[in-house]
Symmetry: C2
Subunit: 291 residues, 2 copies
């Protein structure tokens, strides 16, 4: 590792300085909250805030970081285990084309594996992984998203088949769940292609593509999180459709609703992990902004 590489916990002054720069854009009205001394310029302000806040922001940051990592790992693996449990214990397991009803069971498992577990780890890894060189983090981010692709494709084929092979065939792209799923899959494909070309292929001529890649970063990050939230919305509508469409036993309904709540909890943990700026993760809050 070169001397410039990231340490697991950079000195607190670094992120603090950045956070304070955020809060005091030059020319903005800070008069309401904390009037600056007259004749103080922008850099003086930063220095002052840096000193002031040095002792304020440190406590709890490693704890928060660990909490996010542990909680999200439990939830992302837990949701997949819970889905497998539901499908195998209550819905009779899996099959391919010979039994459309059992073939359908592949759909929730593979979609949750692809869109939630793999994508969730990929997002969090990019955001929280600070001990590796940035290119390795990027490659791992791409690898996890690439793992999601076969899951999504097979999961999509499974539901398509399970509709078409029924007697009589069920209509496709009929419900809110399917419309949302279609948008989610389209945005996922777009994000993967754009991300792959912008942040890996264009690295071949680094300096020439700097402006372009810089402009893409916040777009890719925003739409990545939007895509994850879309995936969660699609999952909860799918679960709701399923739970309402048939008379399931009470215990199974509770399992399905709990699965929905776990999915929503994942949405909360991931969006807070990505947005929070006083977690130690903020030591690298700007990793997502880097190219």
């Amino acid at each position: 590792m070169d001397t410039n590489s990231v340490s697991p916990l950079p000195p607190p002054e670094a992120p603090l300085a950045m956070m304070e720069v955020e809060k005091t854009p030059p020319g903005s009205p800070s008069a309401n909250d904390m009037p600056p001394p007259p004749d103080e310029n922008f850099w003086d302000k930063i220095m002052r805030y840096e000193e002031e806040t040095e002792n304020t922001w440190n406590c709890g940051s490693w704890f928060e970081y660990l909490l996010i990592v542990i909680l999200s790992t439990i939830l992302l693996i837990g949701v997949l285990v819970l889905t497998l449990f539901w499908v195998i214990y209550y819905r009779g397991g899996f099959a391919w084309t010979e039994n459309p009803t059992l073939q359908f069971n592949l759909h929730p498992v593979l979609m949750i594996a692809g869109f939630i577990t793999f994508s969730g780890f990929s997002i969090l890894l990019y955001r929280l992984c600070r001990c590796l060189k940035h290119i390795y983090v990027k490659l791992a981010h791409m690898f996890f998203h690439a793992c999601a692709i076969p899951c999504i494709v097979v999961g999509f084929l499974a539901v398509f088949d399970s509709h078409n092979l029924q007697e009589p065939p069920l209509p496709n792209f009929y419900s809110l769940h399917s419309w949302l799923g279609f948008v989610t899959m389209g945005l996922f494909a777009l994000q993967f292609i754009v991300g792959f070309f912008s942040f890996l292929v264009l690295l071949c001529c680094e300096n020439a593509t700097y402006g372009c890649r810089a402009a893409m970063v916040p777009i890719h990050a925003s739409f990545g999180l939007v895509n994850f939230m879309l995936a969660i919305a699609t999952c909860v509508t799918g679960l709701t459709e399923k739970v309402i469409s048939a008379q399931f036993p009470e215990a199974e309904k509770i399992v399905m609703n709990s699965l929905g709540m776990v999915l929503v909890a994942i949405g909360i943990v991931v969006s807070v992990a990505v947005r929070r700026s006083n977690a130690p993760a903020t030591a690298k809050v700007y990793v997502t902004e880097r190219l």
Copy 2:
């Protein structure tokens, strides 16, 4: 307005400087992307990036800002109009306790008015409004959220009554939709109380509470957006429940699914508007970070 107040479009250098500070935390590995010249310190780097990017980030920013404002206004009002249309044209309008089925119709309208339209405008206004003093923006943010409260309370009573007054009474807090709704309402109440005390009441002793308020800002902003996404997830599960639970005419189903898609579009526009950092909105990207 004092000389320190916010102009509608600050000079591009200001936000650019901030954005670049974000991207180049001191001690972070920029070697992969753009190796800095040796012996360059942090402030030199900022100045260099500021000069370099001055011409890169300007185009399209007013256009994007206007697009977000216009699009979100259309969507936030449109979703309420579409809900009213659905409920009045297809579901027979409103009633109070004399007719539980018609009383239920108040539930989607009032919940969408409170959790989506009022809350959505409140979030966007806080994020995008840059021509007023910050305290006025805060008060408007609180006012819009306060307007949401009666909608939510009456909307909640409407569904509660419509369940209890049925023969036989329908069970409450039974579905994923109701669980999600419960969490959403709880988080809304918590956010309102914490926001009110932290950012308005504690202003009475500004300097003493600075650290506390500073620590609350990112938490309030993150959980505010989480709450909005939760509200959207709750709405789409509610719509899905309703559309699956009965045999509605095809046209009505399409209206209901479209309503779900508009809600999801609102989620996308609001989260992108709040997160994007090369919109002109970024001129005040840190408004959300201020106290």
